[in-house]
Symmetry: C2
């Protein structure tokens, strides 16, 4: 049995690149939502710091993220975008799983 | 026009209280999902630290969280649970909004 895999990403963006970053992030979100293993890809900006973005991503299992997502044709553009817009150390990933069987709001 | 409001919560739990905390958190999740302003309440545990929980909550607007949720009949039980199971400084909230109009996976 596979288990839903969650990725929470916090990204601090160079303020002068916010418009470029937002456009590229939006394209990345649309493309990732089209991957067969992606269940959810929410793009948020923190209330208290408009240069900080938070992504909430759900995948059907761990491989759908580490293999399917990272080998997707659109992934290199995302990496390159972050190289331009995010300073070193400005991006961090947290990996998680549902805390119990009905931990997610709906069963994916 | 109201805007969806997101709350991300990170909670480090005293290891000896994990079972009590998980049961209480599950009851809190079920009750909160029943609030009229709650759109999503996902309960996750981080892959690398089983004592760290992450909540991903979406509300119809900011008041649905700060007023509706915090004045709900079930909210005091959650506060008391955290007093027993979470050490001082072990819980932090991040508030966020969609980064652009279709930032969420589905329009809520």
């Amino acid at each position: 049995m596979t288990e839903v895999f969650a990725v929470l990403v916090t990204i601090d963006v160079r303020p002068e690149t916010i418009d470029e970053f937002t456009a590229g992030l939006q394209a990345n979100a649309v493309a990732t939502r089209g991957e067969p293993g992606c269940l959810r890809f929410d793009v948020l900006r923190t209330r208290d710091d408009p240069n900080r973005f938070v992504l909430y991503e759900l995948y059907s299992d761990e491989d759908a993220f580490f293999v399917g997502h990272r080998q997707a044709a659109h992934y290199p553009a995302w990496v390159q975008l972050c190289e331009r817009c995010v300073p070193p150390g400005g991006r961090s990933n947290t990996y998680a799983v549902p805390a119990y069987p009905d931990g997610l709001t709906e069963h994916a």
